[in-house]
């Protein structure tokens, strides 16, 4: 979705507000939201892509007005409702126990090594990011669409956000680090040696 969250390359957002000795959480409630979010995620009713899409569905004015953890609070309320988590009797065991939380949950993502999935591209190849404008979730930012770059490395195999976010399957495929020259993205105002690397799924790319 071409939403407000996709802000790479926008201008006029003002100076960067830097806070010296910033605390991890500014208010107690922010920490509680962080932790509630992690506990609810452990229910496995939604995945990370569906979670991100829910943030992206916030209306633009609200998205900009809300603080980061206000967004988290808002979408967790929405996800609870959407997935009917509060319906039915009380559960006997919580989604995440204190012991599991203390064990730091281990590695949360599956391995990216999967010889069953064939890569369509390889390092050194010229590629172009496809010009797609899906109304659903995507991790291909607007500023890279239609631009040509070079595959720098193959990161292995990951779930495809555009289908996973909508519970239409993981459609696991290779993700590549693609180097775009800053001039390709922004024109002559950029210095010729500068670049931006994006991590892009197979389905976002075509041969250039």
């Amino acid at each position: 979705m071409n939403g407000i969250h996709d802000m790479g390359g926008m201008q006029d957002m003002g100076p960067i507000q830097y806070e010296e000795n910033e605390p991890v959480f500014h208010e107690r409630w922010e920490g509680r939201v962080y932790a509630i979010n992690a506990s609810l995620f452990a229910l496995r009713k939604w995945n990370i892509d569906a979670w991100r899409y829910q943030i992206e569905l916030l209306p633009p004015a609200g998205y900009l007005r809300m603080s980061y953890y206000e967004r988290w609070l808002h979408i967790n309320e929405q996800l609870l409702e959407k997935h009917g988590v509060l319906a039915g009797p009380a559960k006997a065991t919580p989604s995440l126990t204190a012991a599991a939380a203390a064990g730091r949950l281990g590695r949360g993502l599956p391995s990216s090594h999967d010889p069953q999935v064939t890569p369509r591209f390889e390092a050194g190849q010229r590629v172009r990011a496809r010009n797609i404008n899906p109304i659903g979730h995507t991790r291909l930012p607007r500023y890279a669409r239609g631009k040509a770059g070079t595959v720098a490395r193959d990161h292995g195999v990951y779930a495809f956000p555009d289908t996973n976010a909508h519970f239409q399957g993981e459609k696991r495929q290779h993700v590549y680090s693609v180097r775009f020259s800053a001039r390709e993205l922004w024109g002559e105002q950029a210095l010729p040696q500068d670049s931006v690397h994006l991590d892009l799924w197979d389905d976002y790319l075509e041969r250039a």
Partner: protein
Amino acid sequence: MAHAHEHQSVPSDPALRVKALESLLVEKGIVDPAALDVLVDNFEHKIGPRNGARVVARAWVDPAYKQRLLADAALAVAELGYTGGQGEHTLAVENTPNVHNLVVCTLCSCYPWPVLGLPPVWYKSAAYRSRAVIDPRGVLREFGTHLDEDVEVRVWDSTAELRYIVIPERPPGTENLNEEQLAALVTRDAMVGVRKVQA
């Protein structure tokens, strides 16, 4: 869904809303308040940029470790005991006199939690996310980092599940410092790439 309607009618102050949400989730047996305490404590006291600083200092003093870090940062970071969510697939990128790396997540807030903790507000702000890709040199100047025209700037936009940590340049005049003293010099900002490490 009576409860959902109840918590929508509480005042909009986030502190009150969170309190209401937590009570409801605990009452429903969905969330364990002790687990919430542990999760908050992890990020307030255990996981943070001191972890990343130890990784960088080790890379500075141990060339073999640096090679492992550049080859698979998640594994190399785990050697020092740092694992967990948002660090499963990590890439380390190295600054040199000719190359300066800068990390951003234009779409949201992706950040390598096990080595840097949770991201600061500026990293998640519209100002940083929008400009880091189109005007990285201007962003760097705002942080007081002035690069020569001939330095190559590489911006890493964390659009997938890979997380990035910058290995800053070891500053001159630190030849006699030990690993622990070096780690004390390494800042969060240097590992995101917005500043250099000062001796």
